[in-house]
């Protein structure tokens, strides 16, 4: 039972890493907390549900479409919103208010459009029967979603560490002021990161019905809490630390559900409080020499 819980936890952890990755990318590059992150994820879920209902599209095809469309929407959305925010005197507080408002708006409009009924996608679309992994029997949709998450995370790694734009993105994460001083087009780099973050959230949303059971227009705040726990554990502003945060969260969640199931919902809060008290820079925070 223990091995089963740990293996399932790792698979779920990869998915949770994908859930938190976009939020951490936006925070790392823009120092903005996107409180609408969970709602973007929810939109990705509904997009997959609509693409399947209306056109019979497989979730994997939906994920590719959602990724492209959300990046295409996120890029101009950045220019519409973020530069103005960053020029304001108290940009961090204003960004919280603005994205909270955006979150409420997305939830309200989605509720009007599709109602409050929970929606799900048939698990058989991602495989039937169990998948045996290290002796643990896992539903194939979990494994499928975990693999897609791992591919998405690897894609972000390749972008950040193997491309010129990714290197410039990391430079902006390290110091926005120095990036500006060096002549980096910070807005272009940030807009792309914002689009990618929305795309990642959308892809996570496509697989939410398989990993979380169902989707509703009101799921955004719960997702945000989970994503916060994952990125705080894995270090705020460090997108790849999110992977470790996701796996720790996933394994802890599965262990809680296996041995203390009634306490499982408390896990995000407990992890957040514990990490903030013991190691506020995150488990993988890196210190640099100051002199």
């Amino acid at each position: 039972m223990l091995i089963g819980a740990v293996v399932a936890g790792v698979v779920f952890g990869l998915y949770f890493a994908l859930v938190g990755l976009g939020l951490n990318l936006v925070f790392g590059v823009m120092r903005i907390v996107n409180l609408a992150h969970g709602d973007v994820l929810m939109l990705g879920g509904y997009a997959a549900w609509w693409l399947l209902s209306a056109f019979g599209l497989h979730p994997l095809v939906a994920a590719v479409l959602v990724l492209g469309v959300f990046i295409a929407v996120g890029y101009p959305l950045y220019y519409l919103v973020v530069p103005q925010l960053q020029r304001a005197r108290d940009s961090e507080m204003l960004s919280l208010i603005l994205f909270f408002g955006l979150s409420q708006m997305i939830e309200a409009v989605t509720t009007i459009a599709v109602g409050t009924t929970e929606r799900s996608l048939p698990g058989r679309m991602l495989g039937i029967g169990p998948f045996i992994l290290l002796g643990a029997r896992l539903p194939k949709p979990w494994v499928f979603s975990g693999v897609v998450s791992a591919v998405a995370v690897a894609g972000v790694y390749l972008y950040l560490y193997r491309t010129r734009l990714g290197m410039l993105t990391r430079a902006v994460m390290v110091s926005r002021d120095e990036a500006l001083a060096t002549g980096i087009d910070v807005h272009r780099v940030s807009a792309l990161a914002f689009g990618i973050a929305l795309g990642l959230a959308g892809v996570a949303g496509v697989f939410a019905p398989f990993m979380l059971g169902s989707i509703t227009p009101a799921m955004g705040p719960d997702i945000n809490l989970t994503a916060f726990a994952v990125i705080v554990v894995g270090t705020l502003g460090n997108p790849l630390g999110t992977v470790a945060g996701g796996v720790i969260y996933g394994v802890a969640l599965m262990l809680m559900q296996t041995y203390y199931s009634s306490w499982a919902n408390l896990l995000p809060n407990l992890l957040l409080i514990a990490v903030l008290l013991v190691r506020p820079e995150g488990l993988f925070g890196r210190k640099t020499r100051r002199a």
Binding site: R164, M167, L168, R170, A171, M173, V174, S175, D177, E178, A179, L180, A181, T182, G183, I184, D185, R286, T288, R289, A291
Partner: protein
Amino acid sequence: MAELLTAEGICSGYGQVQVLWGAGLRVAAGERVVLLGANGAGKTTLLKVLVGLMPAWEGSVRLDGADITGQRTDRRVRAGLAYMSELGVFPGLTIAENLRIGGQFVPRAALSRRIEELFDLFPDLAAKRRALAGSLSGGQRKMLGIAKALAARPRLLVMDEPSAGLSPLFVQQVIAVLGRFRAEGAGLAMLIAEQNVAFLDLAERVYTLEGGRVRFSGTVAELHADDALHRAYFGLA
């Protein structure tokens, strides 16, 4: 010498607080200019206006005679201007990555050659090319900052207090490195904002900035000849 950078009547500041009151300066091609001033004189603000990191409320900035007052920093960098801030490097990136970012607008093959040239000039950095810049000592970071700023072969290197946070020994090392570029006659112009008069060894001309206004403009010898300025910057010596 042909004028490279010209700033006239610059007024700027932060929010409601005006810092610069009609400041101006000129740097000719290949010329080394030091902008002397105490803390709070407005040196950093003036440099930021020159490189496009802050807007000029009034006045103009010209590069090669073309008005660049409203131009973005990345365009100015492409035009041959490099700025070394007090931080100067990206601590969370490797030394090699810092240099590649410094030369971000240089074609890939040419940049690789340039980085190897810089590693020849800065052998301490070459030995640690994959180390994070944040792991370097203050003096080494300054050297990396200079190398990063030179990666794109700029025509004008604008430096904000390269002595900040350094011991006198490291300050002399920085001056020696910058002097080497002068000796090589690479045609590199420098504008160095400093409060440390040791940097006057590098200068062909000096500006002094006080309260956001240029008080003196001339050669180092002329600065020494002005009793009041001499006392202000060199004490009674």
